[in-house]
Symmetry: C2
Subunit: 231 residues, 2 copies
DNA sequence: ATAAGCAAGTGTGTATGCACATTGCGCCGA
DNA sequence: TCGGCGCAATGTGCATACACACTTGCTTAT
């Protein structure tokens, strides 16, 4: 193997269009680009100091994963989701999560189990500190850890994909009242079922956990909903 | 995966890149473009009498749905799947199908139920005639009908997306021995459970149905496997 | 003989230009 | 005042051009 010149080590050697896609993905998932935002190709090209070509390719990819909506010759907008659609996604996500934790319970290695328990333990401090950012980040790791423990890489990819699309909404619901404490309690219940090796129980509790998060979000939407049915 | 607008099906005023994507999707799913095939941009452009631009945009979209693999500056190939990966997909598909039929059992309207039963009934003639093409087409309708009966459009899109990616493999296993008859018998068992309103039973039977299909495919792969682990 | 190095060729990645569909606005007529 | 028509502006869709990364085959040196 040859030693790379310094510049190649520091410089991002990935495709420009992929970098743009990743940035846009993050911004949509984080809510920095709210639903309904029009994405002007030239404007984005200027922003990334690129031409429209890689921007277009990034937008094409985002449209497949459903983060943006392309209306032929009428431009691209960040997908505007109705409360119904969001609830459908949460419902599906709840089932996928339940499925994952059931598989994970039966298939995870002792190492994976201890890693997950350690992760779970570490979340207590975040709840006490009320650190939503830290908890949000932990939460992602926790759930992805469960996906991986299914030892089914395809399932992992699917679950991560859906989770990504719900990111923008998931995070908001953590602001609801005592949702942080409740979330951790529910994680705890799931972990106890895993420890008992009861995959079905873990699955039921995970489903409940996700549906609780959904209904917390539902209350949030009720409160903040705007006239056009989006928020 | 996003649902295509209706106009794309009939009208010609569709995006060139979308038409190219659809054609390539079909050809990959049908096996006309076998796994590992290199997709040369200029060559495809010539074939569709277009420039490389819409071809590239189509390929970008296919890479997101996992049908092709883009290696930066090294071209695009039809995703070469290992038997392990295929089995993982079937396992996940089996669970998604089980989930869908469980939801469908509890939520389908009488109209949907009768439509599905009529569809199922019509498959008997195809089995007797040994018409694999007709059965394959019916099979798709049958399963998609179940997805739709979940009344969760997001779930429908997800399920169709996964089913699409498994198409090329699903079809081959129908050639295995008496798989056609067995498939219909399994459908029948699922339908009976639906008629009884027993969603869990329907789910278990559907899972078994999909896993049977997977193992039929597994036998097929055993027989036809090539040296590099793909087939 | 094998491996390293070099050079030409192929094909991807990005930029740019142009055509036209869509939209918004203003003008005109009822 | 209101609706229809048309024109201009905006921005997408596609074509084309070019630079350079990667590959391939040959040469050369050990």
């Amino acid at each position: 193997m040859t030693v790379l010149p310094l510049e190649e080590m520091t410089e991002e050697r990935v495709l420009l269009s992929d970098r743009i896609r990743n940035v846009l993905t993050d911004e949509i998932a984080s809510g920095a680009l709210p639903a309904g935002t029009a994405l002007d190709e030239q404007q984005l090209a200027d922003r990334f100091s690129a031409s429209r070509t890689p921007v277009r390719e990034a937008l094409r990819q985002l449209s497949v994963s459903g983060l943006v909506e392309m209306r032929p010759r009428r431009g691209v907008i960040v997908t505007r989701m109705t409360p119904e659609r969001i609830m459908e996604m949460f419902e599906a996500m709840a089932e996928i999560e339940a499925l994952c934790v059931r598989f994970a319970t039966y298939r995870m290695t002792p190492l994976e189990r201890s890693h997950l328990m350690e992760l779970h333990r570490s979340s207590e401090a975040m709840v006490l500190a009320g650190d939503i950012d830290a908890y949000d980040s932990f939460n992602r790791e926790f759930h992805v850890g469960i996906y991986r423990a299914t030892h089914n890489n395809f399932l992992v990819d699917q679950a991560i994909g859906i989770r990504l699309r719900l990111n923008a909404f998931r995070r908001t619901q953590l602001h609801q009242g005592d949702r942080l404490e409740r979330s951790r309690e529910e994680h705890d219940a799931v972990m106890r079922a895993i420890a008992q090796g009861d995959g079905d129980k873990a699955a039921r509790r995970m489903r409940a956990h996700m549906l609780n998060a959904a209904s917390a979000l539902g209350r949030y939407i009720e409160l903040h909903q705007s006239r056009d049915g989006t928020y």
